[in-house]
Every structure is written in structure tokens, then in C-alpha cells.
Symmetry: C2
Amino acid sequence: MTHLRHLPLGFGGEFDLIAAALRQWGRLASGVGDDCAVLEVPPGVRLVLSVDTAVEDVHFRRAWLTPQEVGYRATTAALSDIAAMAAEPVGVAIAMTLPDAWRADFLAICDGIGDAVRAVGAKIIGGDLTHGRELSLTLTVVGHATSPLSRGGAQPGNALWVTGRLGGPLRAIRTWEGGGVPSPESRARFARPVARFAEARWLAWHGATAGLDISDGLVSDAGHLAAAGGVQVIVNLDRLPLATGASADEAAQSGEEFELLVTGPASLDAAAFEKTFGIPLTCIGAVAPPVSGEPAVEALHHGARVQLPRGHDHFPSA
Amino acid sequence: MTHLRHLPLGFGGEFDLIAAALRQWGRLASGVGDDCAVLEVPPGVRLVLSVDTAVEDVHFRRAWLTPQEVGYRATTAALSDIAAMAAEPVGVAIAMTLPDAWRADFLAICDGIGDAVRAVGAKIIGGDLTHGRELSLTLTVVGHATSPLSRGGAQPGNALWVTGRLGGPLRAIRTWEGGGVPSPESRARFARPVARFAEARWLAWHGATAGLDISDGLVSDAGHLAAAGGVQVIVNLDRLPLATGASADEAAQSGEEFELLVTGPASLDAAAFEKTFGIPLTCIGAVAPPVSGEPAVEALHHGARVQLPRGHDHFPSA
């Protein structure tokens, strides 16, 4: 395998590509150079790690994104997993499978990866570049957490909160798949998501009991909170904060939002949150005891129980 | 993205596959279940991390390996990177892109991954399963090291040592590509490599100054030691320990051996090493000052300097 570390005395095109990427990243990748990344972990801190893959025509289509956005989005999606744990980002390792058809875009993809890593104050700590027939990016992200916010702590009586506005990514995908051009807002929500590090730490600090980032879709991810906590999660579809142009149904299903879904006190100061971070924090439901001892999700619309919309499953052709 | 963690209340085929894999792995994957893996890192220990990808038709062909071997080999290749740092393995995260053509082999691949993880006493800590058009496995491996053995410590006057016998994987590939059937030994060297954890720690303990695992080919990897240490590395091709049927030229070029190449004292007790581990430890060269200030690799054959054979570049069609 051709590792990012295999720079000196290397040969062949992959080594040239790696050298160019390392030059472009500069100090952002200054630790790269041995068999492994070596990380110092301060005492009392736990290390969190997550792995996330983005594959062309499964997670995005080439026509939708610039190469920079492909790199940025894949990296942010991976970072979002550790953001949701209320962690501090530390390092990102990049495994890229690069087909010939994307070779000319390699440095632009790396530029987008670098943007995402820089945006959260992390470093590039290593990677692996290989040939292949389809573009694939697997990002491994590591961070530190003193009190990781897990999925499993939801308590009956908690409120259910969500950051930001939902539905943008699904609205963008539906518009593209219908042959249209998404609004700038919808497109940005798909192409330039944000990993909510500071927001998650604020929520943990203010008493959040459980949380995750919305990657499969709100209702689906609410199900993960219910299952992990052994509780019932009630989602009020009438209260969902909607991205411009998105329906409540889209907001409930839209995946890869990377907004935070947390349980915690009903008394969270949403105005202070919005003032600090510039995005809304909305109470959209509650946590109740399990139903006949079983975890469950219940969606309410105009006060009545409704069939759960199916969660995000990438797009139909995938 | 469909994470290994998305088990409860999940839907669709990928969730079923993940559930089946987790059942099969049992306690080996008992920590899987949140946004991230959370790792406790004891004080005074450094964390090492490496990422490695195996792609069908780049790193192996389907006709050559059983699905179990595909999983085992990819995982061992990744583990070998941290073995070479003289680390203790801790956890493995699995990102798998699974085409329909391999779907029936999913559990067998997972079984091979499990074998490789179990063999070194590590755990499965997470992952990501996605669709795609080609089978791809990206393994992220983490370990602990108190004194990581890096590539950069080679000193003029050191001897150059290698574990095991070389040339088997290239011999197997050449036989397959020529339409033949490799010998059981060559095939095993390709299909069932070993991550040399205990061997690397023995070597570090006995004074090794630098080391890596042979992944690009002996001469190429000697070049990495030379570059990282700012030294000249002299490889005596006449002394290479050969796998049955392999030529010295093949032993010098064969990649993905995962044997250790280290610099250290000339006085290492090779007999004690072989008695402990059941594989040879062979002195195959020396470290000298750089040539005109430049790192270099020199290969000797019958005492004369020879053109460096080109290192491993996967196979020609890749």
C-alpha cells in the first residue's frame, strides 16, 4: 500500500501526488512521516475515535459537488461523529481510493479535506492512498473527551432538542435528482455541513443527558437514542425547525444533516445558545418511559400519532 | 452512512448484515455501540494509529483468496504497521465498501477480520459499512506504545536485520499471474501474513534503533529507513533469507511481506530470537554515513554494487 508517509526515496505517480498534498497542507500535516501516527494523550482524558466513508454515487454525485466540497464534506461528516460526543478534535487520518477519472482533482479534494480539518483546529496525522475504480474517502477522526456525551443517557422527563434547521440536504438531493438546481441554502446544507463541536460541548455543559449527530435522519436517529437509553422518544413533527423550502416530512427524514439531537433539561436557554452560535436550538419533543418495556419512537403531527417516515437511506439508486 | 453502531431500530439490508457480523464477533466487538469508540489510555503510554486500505484488483484478486483470507489479510496488513512500532495492539475499526457481488461473502470476510483481530489480542471498536462498486476494506488500528520504534533512528555502524524469509508473496503473485498454482508456502505468505508484534518488542528491547514492516519491498523500505535516518543503508542481496522457491531478486522486491526490517546492534542473538519465535532473524547489511550528505540505499551482489531492483508497485494491471 502506498502510505502518505512513503515520501522520501519514493517512486511513481502516487508518491508525487502525496508529496504535492503534503506541500499543500504544510503545517497542517506536519506530524506525518512514520509507520503510524503517535499521539500523546493527556492523563484524565479519554480518546474518542470514529471512522466514516464517503463513496461516489452512494453519498454524493460528481455533478453536485466541486472536488473541494467532496473532500470537505466527507471530512466534516467524520468529524461530526466525535463532535456529537462533546469531544475536542485532535487528528484526522485519510484513506483515499483514487480512480484515474479523479486524478486531476486530487489536490482540490485534499484542499477541501484540509479546510475541514483546519476549521475545527485538528491536524492531519496520516493516511493511505490507493488506486481503485471508484472514488472513496475513509476518514478516521480522533479526539479527546473528558466526559463523552453518549447515546445512552436519555431519561424519562427529558426534553428533546435539535440544533439548526433541518431538511436542507434532502431538499437539495430531491432537487438535483429531479433535474433542478437547489437553492443556495439547500445546496450549502448538503455541500458545506458543519461539525458542531462547540455546540455539543455547550449542550453537555448545560446538562444534556444523551446526544448524537443526525446522519440517518431525525426520526431514525431518535430511534437510536430510544434504543440506547431504553426509553420512548416522542418527536413533535409540528415543531421541527425547517430549512427554507423544506417540509416537515423532509426535515424528519433528511440524513447527513450533522445537526445535534440531544436529550436534556427542558429549561435549556435556547436564546443564549442562538446568541452564542448563530443557529437555533429547538425543543422538538420529549423522553418518556419505554412502551411495555420496549424502546420506541413516536412521531406526533397535529397532536396525533403518525406513521414514522422512513429514515435516510442514501439515494434510491445507491 | 451506515455505521456498525446503527443496530437497534435499524432497517434495511445493511443493518441486518451488521447485526449478523456483531453476533458472529461476539465479545470481540463488545465495545461497539456509540457515535465513536471511547478508549482509555493509561498515563505514560502513547497511542499509535495507522490506516490501511485493501482494494480488490489492486491488493488482491478474488480468484486468489477465500473471503476469510481477504478479511484476515487486510486486517493483518494494517496491524503490521503498529506492530513495527513495537506497540501493543488495542483496537481495530473497520470501514467496508461492499458491492453486491460480494454480499454473500460478507460474514466470511468478517470472520477473517475477526481471526486477525483475535490473533493479536485486540478488539473491534467500530466501523462503517457502505455500498459501492468494488470491495474495499480500510482498517484503522490503534495501539499503545511506551517507546515507539520509529523509522528515524538508524545510526552508522548499526547492522541491518530482517525477520522471517522473503520473496513468498511476490512468488505467489507471479505464479498466479502466469496461470499457475503457487506452492502452499508462497500462497500462505501472501494469504496469511503475520503481524510481528512480539518480535518487534523483542527487537526494541534488545537495542533496535529504527524499524518498519516490509510493505513496499525490502530495498524500497530500506530506502525509507535511509531517508528517515539521514544515513546510507547497505543491503547485501547474497544474505537475504529466501522463502522456498524465491530468488534473491524476488526477495528484494517482494512487497506486503510484513516482516520487520530493523537497524540495531550487530550483536543481536539471532539464535535466541529464532528459538523464541520460530522464524529466523538475519543480518543482511549495515548502516553507513550518508553519501555526500544524502541518504542512500546501496545493494551489493557478490560484493559488487548493483542497480536497485524496483520496489513493489502492486501488480501491473493495477
